[in-house]
């Protein structure tokens, strides 16, 4: 079941939460809506679900050519996993999962034996088969999360929507559960959209990432695309650390303190201010350098597992961060306050009038 979002707009009083957003989610895809808080990602998810109505006169929501815009959430066959799970606190885990089946009209409601069979199957799927009698209050956060997922899957949804699914969990559980969910998705192939503000989560879990900011989509792409080829400075800065180098753009080159950086994206523009965006791992550190290299001094060396982070500063004082593989670091035998040369393996130049 594909999802088609066609120029959806949502206003709360005077505040525009979603600005004419269009989006296509293909059959069986797992898509992340990623953005800072207030970017409209949760509102968009709730509009897809039918928990929120778009502004009258704005676009449409379609599930596989079927117009869903005016339909209630109960008629859309979506599975929705709430941020704080919203488990029914007075019902056992089993009854929570069975709720959607029992709520069906009597024509389509499975009999008790069938409900028991299907709920047991789902509990096995989320690995909680022995906790069916527990109340939600007797479960840990990760277990509650999985109950919420089983409950949403019980109604055999055509689309699975998850609002900050791992937001309330601690780091380790979150990472485990993330990988588990990815495997689950690969087995079930249900079209899924989840909201997150955690870029690592989006990049690791999703087939495609939709980066949102201030109610707009900034970029849609595979995790690789949005990370390696950010469409604009916002995406660059939101996804991971980045170094900024200010300079003048002249005939396809950005001059930073007399050093040139290629900027084929902005070729002919005569003499404007520009900024080069360089990821720390794209900063090459060497003992010696030619004309294009920038001389820097090492302020701090931080060991962080497989990579070593170097905090450097240029002779005009601007800080630069570099991430060097451990082997390379050992080879160079770097020490603090030493002077080294840096070049950029990969840089992207944006003209400075672009506002974020």
């Amino acid at each position: 079941m594909s999802i088609e979002v066609i120029s959806i707009r949502k206003t709360f009083d005077n505040y525009v939460a979603v600005r004419d957003v269009s989006l296509h989610v293909g059959q069986g895809e797992l898509v992340a809506l990623l953005g800072p808080s207030g970017s409209g990602k949760t509102t968009l998810l709730r509009i897809i679900a039918g928990l929120e109505e778009p502004d009258p006169g704005s676009g449409a929501i379609r599930f596989h050519d079927e117009d869903m815009t005016g339909r209630r959430i109960g008629d859309r066959q979506v599975g929705f996993v709430f941020q704080h799970y919203a488990l029914f606190r007075h019902m056992s885990v089993f009854e929570n999962v069975a709720f959607g089946l029992r709520a069906r009209p009597s024509r389509t409601r499975p009999d008790n034996a069938e409900i028991k069979r299907r709920v047991s199957e789902l509990l096995r799927l989320v690995q909680l088969e022995r906790l069916g009698d527990r109340l939600p209050g007797q479960l840990s956060g990760g277990q509650r999360q999985r109950v919420a997922l089983a409950r949403a899957l019980a109604v055999e949804p055509r689309v699975l929507l998850l609002d900050e699914p791992f937001g309330a969990l601690d780091a380790r559980v979150r990472r485990d559960l993330r990988r588990w969910l990815r495997r689950l998705h690969d087995e079930m192939h249900i079209t899924s959209v989840f909201v997150t503000h955690d870029q690592e989560e989006a990049l690791e879990l999703a087939d495609r990432v939709v980066v949102m900011n201030e109610g707009r989509i900034e970029q849609i792409g595979t995790p690789e695309e949005v990370y390696d080829k950010p469409a604009n400075p916002f995406v660059y800065q939101f996804l991971g650390n980045v170094n900024l180098f200010h300079g003048r753009i002249d005939h396809g080159k950005l001059r930073v303190n007399g050093h040139d950086t290629h900027s084929p994206e902005i070729p002919g523009t005569p003499k404007t201010n520009g900024v080069a965006y360089v990821r720390p791992h794209d900063v090459e550190v060497a003992r010696s350098g030619n004309g294009d290299a920038i001389k820097v001094r090492i302020d701090q060396i931080n060991f962080a597992g497989p990579v070593v982070y170097l905090l450097l500063h240029r002779h005009d004082g601007d800080p630069v961060e570099a991430a060097v593989p451990r082997d390379r670091f050992r080879e160079l035998a770097l020490r603090t306050s030493e002077e080294v040369f840096i070049t950029f393996r990969n840089a992207r130049v944006f003209s400075e009038d672009y506002s974020i």
């Binding site: 109960g74 029914f88 690995q127 909680l128 990988r179 689950l184």
Partner: protein, 316 residues
């Protein structure tokens, strides 16, 4: 038992003691004084009620309760409560539902209106009814012409009681439902439940203890109301007298042991109310404690149990 939990309990105890550094003498004097005042003003009257009721012997007590007017008063009191309590349960649930789950203009006004019966003296409430429905009142002439009698009739007694007991259920439910929010209802709707099913299966079970608490208080007040009912009832013996009114009438007639006999029934109701209230409070505490986070000993490890394939952890 898990040591972390017992440590937590111990440190809580220390904290509590840390705040009260007064010497033991002061503490015992304060506690003793509290009990003395409570005993004098609450327990003693209770004992006296029963003592006076049985002062002329058990047979007089039984006769007083078997009297026609008394039986009629008991019947009217039960009838009044049987109408007022369900009416206010329905109103209370409806009002707290719309106040806690929706945003609308005039919400504050509605909240204030619900509190109105608490804020004004019951006598004034009764007078308002007389002003509205009495012969000289605004609607008096019209009502008289259509042969509808409210003041000095059972209808008036019931109306006044409903008005006075208005806030009990709603006031109990509004904060509870506001705290619970709407996420569970949204989840139920998203799973295809109808509005009615969502109310019966999700909302009602979540508020049941609070609702019961409100009902108990509402019932106690409905049966015990004196002021408003006394103004509108006209105090017709055997017809519009409720138990509290009947106690007063008997007492003024110098039938003191009969008065205390009826009063003893109301006292028993009060005691039963207190016991029921304590049970409900205890139950509520037990259920709400479970909701936010289970005690550490109840939670099994975060990692899921072994998968049938024999693998542990999250591998499937």
């Amino acid at each position: 038992m898990n040591t972390a939990a017992s440590l937590a309990i111990r440190s809580q105890k220390q904290l509590r003691q840390g705040g009260t550094t007064e010497p033991a003498v002061v503490r015992y004097i304060l506690i003793g004084a509290t009990f003395l005042v409570l005993g004098l003003f609450l327990i003693l009257p209770l004992i006296i009620v029963f003592h006076e009721a049985f002062a002329d012997g058990v047979s007089v007590y039984c006769d007083a309760l078997r009297d026609d007017d008394t039986l009629s008063a008991i019947r009217l009191t039960l009838l009044t409560a049987a109408i007022a309590v369900p009416a206010n349960v329905i109103f209370g649930i409806a009002a707290s539902w719309c106040i806690s789950k929706f945003e609308f203009v005039g919400k504050r006004v509605l909240l204030t209106l619900i509190d109105l019966p608490f804020a004004i003296s019951p006598i004034i409430s009764g007078l308002i009814f007389v002003l509205l429905f009495g012969l000289q009142g605004w609607m008096g002439v019209w009502l008289h012409r259509h042969h509808i009698h409210i003041i000095g009739s059972v209808v008036g007694v019931v109306l006044a009681t409903v008005f006075v007991t208005f806030p009990f259920v709603a006031r109990e439910l509004i904060p509870l439902m506001e705290a619970q929010g709407t996420e569970e209802e949204q989840a139920a709707i998203s799973l295809g439940a109808s509005g009615w099913r969502c109310f019966l299966k999700i909302t009602l079970p979540n508020i049941k203890w609070g609702l019961l608490y409100g009902i108990i208080l509402c019932n106690a007040r409905a049966m015990g109301e004196f002021g408003a009912v006394s103004v509108v009832s006209g105090k017709i013996r055997g017809e519009t007298e409720t138990m509290p009114l009947h106690v007063e009438t008997l007492y003024n007639d110098n039938q003191s042991s009969a008065a205390f006999a009826v009063a003893s029934l109301l006292t028993l109701l009060a005691v039963a109310t207190l016991i029921a209230k304590s049970i409900v409070e205890w139950k509520t505490a037990a259920t709400t404690q479970l909701v936010p986070e289970a005690p550490a000993s109840l939670i099994v490890s975060t990692a899921p149990p072994l998968h049938p394939s024999g693998k542990g952890g999250f591998d499937i």
